[in-house]
Amino acid sequence: MFQTKRVTSREGAPSLGSFHRRRWTGDLTLRAGLAIVTLGISVVLAIMMVESFADASPVYEKFGILGFVTGTKWAPSFTIYGAWPFIYGTLLTSLIGLVIAVPISVLIALLLTELAPARLRAPFGIAVDLLAAVPSVVYGLWGLIVLVPAMRPFEQGVSATLGSVVPFLGPPTPGASYFAAGVILAIMIIPIISAVTREVFASTPRLQREAVLALGGTRWDVARTVTLPIGRAGLLAAVVLGLGRAVGETIAVTMVIGNSNNIGTSIFAPGFTLASVIANEFNEATETLHPEALIALGTVLLVLSVIVNAVAVAIRNRFTGGARSGF
């Protein structure tokens, strides 16, 4: 059966007129079928999101959105719920994670682009993929049994010597803490930050790099004159991407953060993040409004992570002139 030859763009421009031609060919069925599936999944996802907000609404009604988000007390038995200790914990642990992970990732990316190309690239690629694939619960298990006990003396040492002088470094130091969670987070986000940063640095124009070398520059000169300044925006995008991952990390954090509702004033104190408190308390949430409050925390987490990811995408789009497929 012959069909009129049509040269259609691959960019998916819909073929106008196919509906006018009353051709019940396979094409129409296909399109309809695909459309139904697409519509279906969109509706399902949308309903789920709406349901969650709906379930959380009693809590928002009771405390007000701002009141809930800034509330500092979380006491289920008194039906008092405030999200701030957990927002604080999420931000603090993510910050610690980034402070550790970003310099290491940048150095690794520089190493692989400026100092040791080709040979190391493949094995490193594999190592990064594998590091990123290890499930959160395995990191958590290791963190709980190995890392936390090993860090306790370190934390105690730092706290004893610097704690009185530098804020945020004092006691308590039970081991499981914001800091431990930050370290685990750093381990988990180094792969993605360094992989993205490496791609950014690898795309530094060869001409610029050679210009520095031809002027008698060392490789460090190349890095600081050309690679880092030109790669600034890409590096920022990578960091925000890592932040997004850190904000949402649940299980590994739960297992090493010590589980406390307080707003710890030391990084060595125990605490909670938004994700970890939900994981910890959900299945025992029997008090009034407790489950709803936890779902409300989930919506806060949802909004937070959407914002962070939107910022990452915006940075990437603005500076690379086009969306790349998600990592």
Partner: protein
């Protein structure tokens, strides 16, 4: 000749040579620091878990009723993981492919909306996905179930599959696309018979990566399938899964028996995940080496 050389060309100042050496040293230290956790985690898990894996009972028996007792295995978790991940794959892959093909071939507002939702999903913490499914399925059904767990995993897998399928399809070389059209192939024919086979290994890689991600997820399962200390293949019941078992045993890790089981299960999980990843990678390299076909 050294003295001649520095007379003729001069020498980089001591200060700058030092900075250069420092730079290289720091970079190497950073790489080592980053790789230590990989070695440490995998090594520790391996050493502490291999003992459990070597006993066939580990795979055939369920955990003892008293969690702190010795013996038993992780059969219920294995079956649960297998069933839930399998169901999740059956749901997520066709849907993901459908959306990807729809977006690339036909475009339009609906496709854009769907892609937007899926992009949002991509960056979402998996615990939030668990909450979604809890709020809509578990509450409606009135009980936890493996089915809900599978749904949650499917939602986690969906963005991975969709994004990688879209990337692969987008990369189909233009001449082939035009060639298919010029031959008078209808759209569905060209998709099914030309584009998909070309992109097959890439799509399979994407699926493998999705499975690898879903298999290790704990958070979405926490309030959908809840977990079960006993064996049940019934998806309508709460089911156990490997990550859940590890999580629960980790919380009881004061007991050596729980710890051993946790490490055994963790090693098993890591080996499965590594295997899937390496398989996906191998497929990708094989595709590239096969020349012009993608």
């Amino acid at each position: 000749m050294a003295s001649d050389a520095s007379v003729v060309f001069g020498q980089t100042s001591l200060d700058r040579r030092f900075k250069e050496r420092l730079f290289v040293a720091l970079a190497v230290v950073a790489l080592v620091l980053a790789l230590i956790p990989l070695a440490a985690v995998f090594g520790y898990i391996f050493v502490n878990g291999i003992g459990s894996l070597l006993s066939i009972d580990f795979f055939l028996k369920d955990p003892p009723a008293d969690l702190t007792a010795a013996g038993g295995g992780v059969r219920n978790a294995l079956v649960g993981t297998f069933e839930m991940t399998g169901l999740a794959t059956i749901i997520a892959v066709p849907v993901g492919l459908a959306v990807a093909v729809f977006a690339i071939e036909f475009g339009g507002g609906l496709a854009r909306a769907a892609r937007f939702l899926i992009d949002v999903l991509n960056g979402l913490p998996s615990i939030v996905v668990g909450i979604f499914v809890y709020a809509s399925v578990v509450v409606t059904q009135g009980h936890f179930s493996g089915l809900a767990g599978a749904l949650a995993l499917a939602i986690v897998m969906l963005p991975v599959v969709t994004v990688s399928a879209e990337e692969i399809l987008r990369l189909t070389p233009h001449p082939i696309a035009e060639g298919a059209r010029a031959l008078g192939l209808s759209r569905w024919r060209s998709i099914l018979s030309v584009f998909m086979p070309i992109g097959l290994s890439g799509i399979v890689t994407g699926v493998l990566l999705g499975i690898s991600r879903a298999i290790g997820e704990t958070a979405p399962l926490l309030f959908t399938t809840l977990g079960n200390n006993f064996f049940t293949p019934d998806l309508n019941q709460p089911m156990q899964a490997l990550p859940l078992l590890i999580y629960r045993d980790a919380l009881n890790s004061a007991y050596q028996t729980a710890r051993d089981r946790a490490f055994g299960a963790a090693l098993l999980l890591v080996l499965i995940v590594f295997g899937l990843n390496l398989l996906g990678r191998w497929l990708t390299t094989r595709r590239r080496l096969a020349g012009s076909s993608r």
